[in-house]
């Protein structure tokens, strides 16, 4: 590569740098001072951010597909085999990095937000034990996530996939002395396993079908094989991959781990469980869009699941009282939005929302963390309130984020969410997608409601903080507030890069984001591609319905905010009464639809029962009858053989010995064991020999 | 007269004569060596030493001799009588016998064996038996321990000493002591200059073999009362002491013959320094003059007489040496007289160094002694022998000069010795058996 593409050429450094520091931390970190740890880790992440930015910049000058691909080494040279279709394919998985606009955006988001969160962690984790361990895990996560998004084939992507799962496990269980944390970590890991199994099966099916797993070859392979629209194999692949996505991105039915994952430190929740890892599923679906394009059924499933998850999680978020759990449910529902976008083939919208969501959700978490920090560990919003003036920076940034997620123009959330809703509305067949649009719109309202419920309960109203905590409430250190501000700015302006054409054209911006991602999701020669992508459906002269929808969603958001204000700021007793009258609903939501209990009853306890049954089988049958029984038999037989040995075999031996002894006794008298008698004997021998010699000689 | 001629020219005449002279002179010599030792010790300790008997205690040996003769000779009960009785004699005889092969001068020698050196070594090795048997026979733990220690020590150091002697032998190319001296005359250099390391090793080994300080473990007063001599008293004790001193004289003579050029005067092979021949008579003259000068200063008349007697003796010796000068340069008698002087001078210097280190060095511990012997001296001696052998090969085959070859050998040996000595301290080595 020429110097012009320096960053593109060295894109492999982006994941490598955090890996190196992670290795240092986990090997010798114990001996380093906190300052050195912060310097190394944050520095490495910053360096990889710089490289990502550089790569992104240089990619804009790239002529277009094929996209720069850097293969480090041949990883799994598995050799040739016959695909399902029967033609010969050569399966190789190399350790290579592919940098196309999609992954460029992703690494930019990941490394940027990751860098800010690292900076934040310096202040937040400053007083915690295991500082080096925390940062080691964080950097390891950065490595895994960047590998995930930069991978040029499904297998390497899966490596990153598992890596982020591992790091999420390690970091959720960071306070491993607390049982709940350890359990949460295990839960996350196990639930993810289910999804990963789906992903893995998807990969296998892909290999067996298309004979390749390189993203750059997937689309050509698909089109070369000439699958018609809705080919069952592709549908199967899409669904399997989507199972993996649900696991990682906490969609129905595999979402239960995410709320518990809030046991981890807040920066972890912000980085892993809000900004980056949980969005891996979305990224994965988008990455495989060329398959989904030909599998409308899979797409519809994705859309339905996404929409339902959005509504469902939002409804649960309405009544939660733990500040981080509320954010977790909102994360789930936002992820639902993204999948809805993918489901309506508005991939760019999905990625766009992913990006903006990364900004404001990370900001929300960090701000929440700052609140918790200020209240020295308090997480229950019922014991907060009236923090507005006490921690102004946190409050302001939190409000910005809340507005952004609620979708108030011109903040980031508005554009992305509105894009999704519009794409959903304008998707055929109309009635079905109109219904999905309705769900999305309601969810938008609920989102605004619970976000501002949270906002009011936390910052406004009368203080319910215990006095002893009250005394030392303090604004967080600079290292924490600066990332807050930066993220706030991002969540304001972040959306402008993707203004819908309807507005952008008038401002002369156009939907830059969509155009940038265009080449990734449109494939030359793809049948029905033109019909599928929502981009083309947007007519040149903008449909007035689009503006109407914008208005509706904004009104929804405002309504939600107004309701929250009414209930939680003006007339608290009204909320009480509401909860009282609709007690069953309240309880149902509060207990999260009893899904955890359901899963416990269905899977967990059954598994435990299976285990105990097997244990019983082991101890009773195998040990009891098998081992002990055989031991008993052995004892019996050995008794017999002892008798036999003693009386028959030894008897014979002794008999022989006796006989030999009897006959050898006289000879034994000769064997005195005294050297001198032997010497005497051979002197005697000499004497006799000489005597014989003399007789012969003198004859 | 003819009979006298026959007797004089009978081959056995000279040896017997020398033997008788030795037997008569040696006790006196030993007595005065003891006196010398006491005087030197006193001098080094800023004392006067024996001053009572005779002028400056000159008659002390005689007095001691008489006293010890008259002392009661105790034999412990439970002692093994006849071994107890025979042990000192064995030791003393060994020492005396060894002297038989020592050439005090050219021809001034009881027997010139062609295996003389081996003979001396062998016979002096017999001395151990006297010590061991005596220590064992006296049925006392001190004695037994002393005996065992002494035997172990002597056997151990005989190896190193023998090796050192071999290094001299290689240079001399003969086992006959006389030829060794002549070889040094021929080389024009005493072997101590050609093989200094060998000389040093032999010196240490000889100190150990004669149970002298700092290696006097067998008779360490502070540890075992008097070692193997604890139970001895009176005349037997005298014999032991004489044997010890005789052994010292033997090792000193061997060293003198092998390394210090025997009876040769310094620079014997350079004619320009012949005036050194006038040294002996002058020395004795000075002594005589001193004695005469001291004579009137003696308090008692007897002492005046004794002093005068010594003066006369010195004068007589001076006269003898001077008369020898008048003889033709190649006459055997002159050589014998002068050679005897130089030889005895060197022996005295060697013994003086014995006394010197005795009064200056602290006593070794037994394991240190053994480690020094087995782990340092013997390896160095072996290496030295090899080095000298190779050096001689260089001289024969490669035509090197004598001095560079020997210098190289010495250098190599010193390097090895430095390496050995530089090695870190080994754990204390306590022999469970002699030489084990």
């Amino acid at each position: 590569m020429s110097e012009a593409y320096f960053f593109l050429h060295n894109v492999w450094l982006v994941p490598l740098l955090p890996l190196v520091t992670a290795a240092i931390m986990l090997l010798v970190g114990r001996r380093l001072t906190n300052a050195a740890v912060s310097l190394l880790c944050v520095g490495s992440v910053f360096a990889s951010f710089v490289f990502s930015a550089g790569a992104f910049w240089q990619l804009r000058g790239w002529p277009g597909p094929p996209w720069p691909e850097r293969v480090l080494f041949e990883w799994v040279p598995a050799g040739t085999f016959h695909t399902g279709a029967g033609q010969l394919a050569n399966f190789t998985a190399e350790w290579g990095y592919l940098l196309d606009p999609l992954s460029a955006v992703m690494i930019l988001v990941v490394s940027g937000v990751g860098f800010l969160i690292h900076v934040y962690s310096i202040g937040y984790m400053g007083h915690e034990g295991g500082y080096y361990r925390f940062f080691g895990y964080m950097n390891l996560f950065m490595f895994a996530m960047l590998t995930l998004v930069l991978a040029n084939n499904m297998l390497l992507m899966f490596v990153g996939w598992e890596g982020v799962g591992l790091c999420s496990y390690l970091l959720i269980g960071f306070y491993f002395l607390r049982k709940s944390a350890a359990d949460a970590g295990k839960k996350a890991f196990l639930v993810n396993r289910v999804g990963d199994a789906g992903f893995l099966l998807g990969i296998f099916l892909t290999v067996a079908t298309l004979g390749t797993i390189r993203f750059s070859e997937l689309a050509p392979a698909v089109h070369a094989m000439g699958f018609e629209l809705g080919a069952p194999v592709l549908t199967a692949i899409g669904l399997l991959l989507f199972v993996g996505a649900t696991g990682k991105s906490a969609q129905i039915p595999l979402y239960t781990w995410l709320p518990d994952a809030m046991e981890g430190p807040t920066p972890v929740s912000a980085l892993i469980h809000a900004a980056t890892m949980v969005t891996a599923g979305v990224y994965m679906v988008v990455r495989h869009n060329m398959i989904y394009q030909l599998a409308p059924l899979a797409l519809e499933v994705v859309a339905i699941i996404g929409a339902l998850t959005a509504l469902y999680a939002a409804s649960m978020g309405l009544v939660q009282t733990d500040i981080k759990r509320i954010l977790a449910y909102s994360t789930i529902s936002q992820l639902g939005y993204m999948f809805l976008a993918c489901g309506v083939a508005a991939y760019t919208a999905g990625i766009f929302h992913l990006m903006t969501h990364a900004f404001f959700k990370a900001l929300l978490f960090l701000a929440a963390g700052s609140v918790i920090h200020a209240l020295s560990g308090e997480q229950d919003i019922r014991r907060m309130g009236a923090l507005w003036s006490k921690i102004p920076t946190t409050a302001w940034t939190f409000r910005v984020a809340a507005l952004a997620i609620a979708g108030i123009p011109p903040l980031a959330g508005f554009f992305s969410k509105d894009e999704i809703l519009w794409k959903t509305w304008s998707r055929e067949p109309a009635p079905f997608f109109k219904l999905l649009w309705l769900i999305g719109a309601v969810t938008a309202g609920m989102t605004a409601f619970y976000m501002f419920r949270l906002l009011f309960l936390t910052f406004r109203g009368s203080s319910r903080v215990p006095p002893e905590v009250e005394r030392h409430i303090h604004e967080s250190p600079r290292s924490m507030t600066i990332p807050l501000v930066a993220l706030a700015v991002l969540s304001i302006v972040g959306g402008w890069v993707g203004m819908p054409a309807a507005i952008g054209d008038y401002l002369g911006l156009g939907n830059y984001f969509e155009h940038f991602l265009e080449p990734v999701i449109t494939h030359p020669g793809a049948p029905a591609a033109a019909a599928a992508t929502g981009a083309e459906t947007a007519p040149a002269h903008h449909d007035p319905a689009e503006y109407l929808l914008m208005l509706v969603s904004v009104l929804m958001a405002l309504g939600g905010i107004w309701l929250a204000r009414l209930l939680y700021l003006r007339r608290l007793e009204l909320a009480e009464r509401l909860a009282g009258n609709w007690n069953w609903l309240y309880r149902l939501l509060y207990r999260k639809y009893y899904v955890d209990e359901l899963y416990d009853a269905l899977f967990v306890n059954r598994t435990k029962d299976l285990g105990s049954t097997l244990a019983a089988f082991d101890s009773r049958v195998i040990d009891g009858w098998g081992v002990d029984g055989s031991a008993w038999v052995t004892r019996l037989t050995s008794r017999i053989s002892i008798w036999w040995d003693t009386w028959i075999v030894d008897g014979l031996v002794n008999l022989g010995a006796r006989i030999v002894w009897f006959f050898s006794y006289p000879v034994r008298l000769l064997q005195t064991g005294l050297v001198q008698s032997y010497a005497l004997l051979f002197v005697l021998g000499i004497l006799l020999i000489l005597a014989y010699y003399l007789r012969v000689m003198t004859r | 007269m003819a009979t006298l001629e026959n007797i004089v020219h009978h081959p056995f005449f000279l040896p017997i004569l020398y033997g008788v002279v030795l037997v008569l002179v040696l006790p006196l010599l030993i007595g005065y060596l003891v006196l010398l030792e006491r005087k030197i010790m006193a001098d080094m300790q800023a004392r006067l030493g024996p001053m009572r008997v005779g002028p400056h205690g000159l008659l002390q040996p005689l007095a001691d001799g008489v006293k010890l003769m008259l002392k009661e000779d105790i034999t412990p009960t439970e002692a093994d009588r006849w071994i107890f009785w025979v042990a000192p004699i064995v030791t003393f005889t060994a020492g005396m016998t060894a002297l038989a092969a020592v050439p005090f001068g050219p021809g001034f020698q009881v027997a010139d064996l062609n295996v003389g050196l081996l003979f001396v070594v062998a016979v002096s090795a017999l001395g151990i038996f006297g010590i061991v048997l005596g220590g064992w026979a006296s049925n006392s733990h001190y004695s037994l321990l002393g005996a065992l220690r002494s035997a172990a020590q002597i056997v151990s150091y005989e190896v190193a000493g023998g090796m050192a002697l071999v290094s001299g032998l290689l240079l001399g190319g003969s086992l006959s002591l006389r030829r060794l001296v002549e070889a040094q005359h021929g080389e024009g250099a005493w072997f101590v200059f050609l093989a200094p390391v060998g000389f040093f090793i032999y010196f240490v080994a000889s100190v150990a073999e004669t149970n002298r300080a700092p290696f006097d473990l067998p008779e360490a007063e502070s540890e075992l009362v008097a070692g193997f001599m604890t139970e001895y008293s009176g005349f037997r004790w005298v014999i032991f002491m004489m044997a010890e001193t005789a052994n010292m004289i033997v090792v000193a003579s061997v060293a003198t013959v092998l390394f210090l050029g025997g009876w040769l005067r310094p620079f014997a092979s350079t004619r320009e320094l012949d005036f050194l021949d006038y040294l002996p008579p002058l020395l004795f003259l000075v002594l005589a003059a001193y004695c005469f000068w001291r004579t009137p200063k003696q308090p008692v008349g007897i002492q005046k007489g004794v002093m005068a007697l010594f003066a006369l003796i010195c004068l007589g010796l001076a006269g003898a040496e001077g008369w020898a000068l008048t003889l033709p340069a190649d006459s055997a008698l002159r050589a014998a007289i002068h050679g005897g002087f130089w030889f005895l001078l060197k022996v005295f210097l060697y013994l003086y160094s014995f006394y010197w280190i005795r009064f200056t060095f602290p006593r070794y511990r037994f394991d240190q002694l053994m480690r020094l012997g087995w782990q340092f001296l013997i390896p160095v001696a072996i290496v030295h022998v090899l080095a000298i052998g190779s050096a001689l090969l260089l001289r024969q085959r490669a035509g090197w000069g004598l001095w560079p070859a020997m210098g190289l050998a010495t250098l190599v040996t010193l390097l090895v010795a430095a390496w050995l000595a530089g090695g870190k301290e080994r754990p204390a080595y306590l022999p469970s058996e002699p030489g084990g």
Binding site: - | L113, L118, W136, L148, P434
Partner: protein
């Protein structure tokens, strides 16, 4: 004449020493007498013009081996050993057998001698054929008997190591 006297004296000492060695009750005494016998043998070697060998005999046997013996005797010294029976049960048989053997040999040497009577006569060669003794031995040893010499050195080395191992407190 002189030779005869010397020989008989030495031989007498040797034989008597040997007899006493074998018969003494106390091991130390036996050692002393053995030393005497060995010294006498050394003298006989001297008379046989084997000066080197006689000196070697004294150095090695008397100076080395016997010291070792005396040592061990002192280490292993048992007073009970003095009071025990010194000869074993087979002494008479053994004595008779060995004397018989000796008688046979004497018979062979004297009466039974048939061919080459000169073997036991006066040595035909002049005495000084062996001198200079040391040089001759050295030459012969290092020219014709190099290999046996080396083997002997190996033997000594092995013996030394073996003795050290034996001497260790625990093997």
């Amino acid at each position: 004449m002189m030779d005869l006297v010397i020989f008989y004296v030495l031989a007498g000492i040797a034989v008597v020493g040997a007899v006493l060695t074998v018969t003494r009750r106390n091991a130390v005494h036996s050692a002393v007498f053995l030393i005497t016998a060995l010294m006498a043998t050394a003298g006989i070697f001297l008379q046989l013009r084997a000066e080197f060998l006689s000196v070697v005999q004294i150095i090695l046997y008397v100076g080395g081996i016997m010291v070792l013996f005396v040592f061990v005797v002192m280490l292993v010294n048992l007073d009970v050993a003095l009071r025990q029976v010194q000869f074993n049960r087979q002494k008479w048989v053994a004595g008779i057998v060995v004397l018989g053997l000796a008688a046979q040999i004497v018979f062979i040497l004297t009466i039974g001698r048939t061919q080459d009577p000169g073997v036991l006569g006066v040595p035909p060669t002049p005495a000084d054929q062996l001198s200079p003794n040391t040089e001759k031995i050295g030459m012969r040893l290092f020219e014709n008997y190099m290999l046996p010499f080396e083997i002997a050195s190996i033997l000594l080395l092995v013996a030394m190591i073996g003795a050290v191992i034996m001497g260790k407190r625990r093997i």
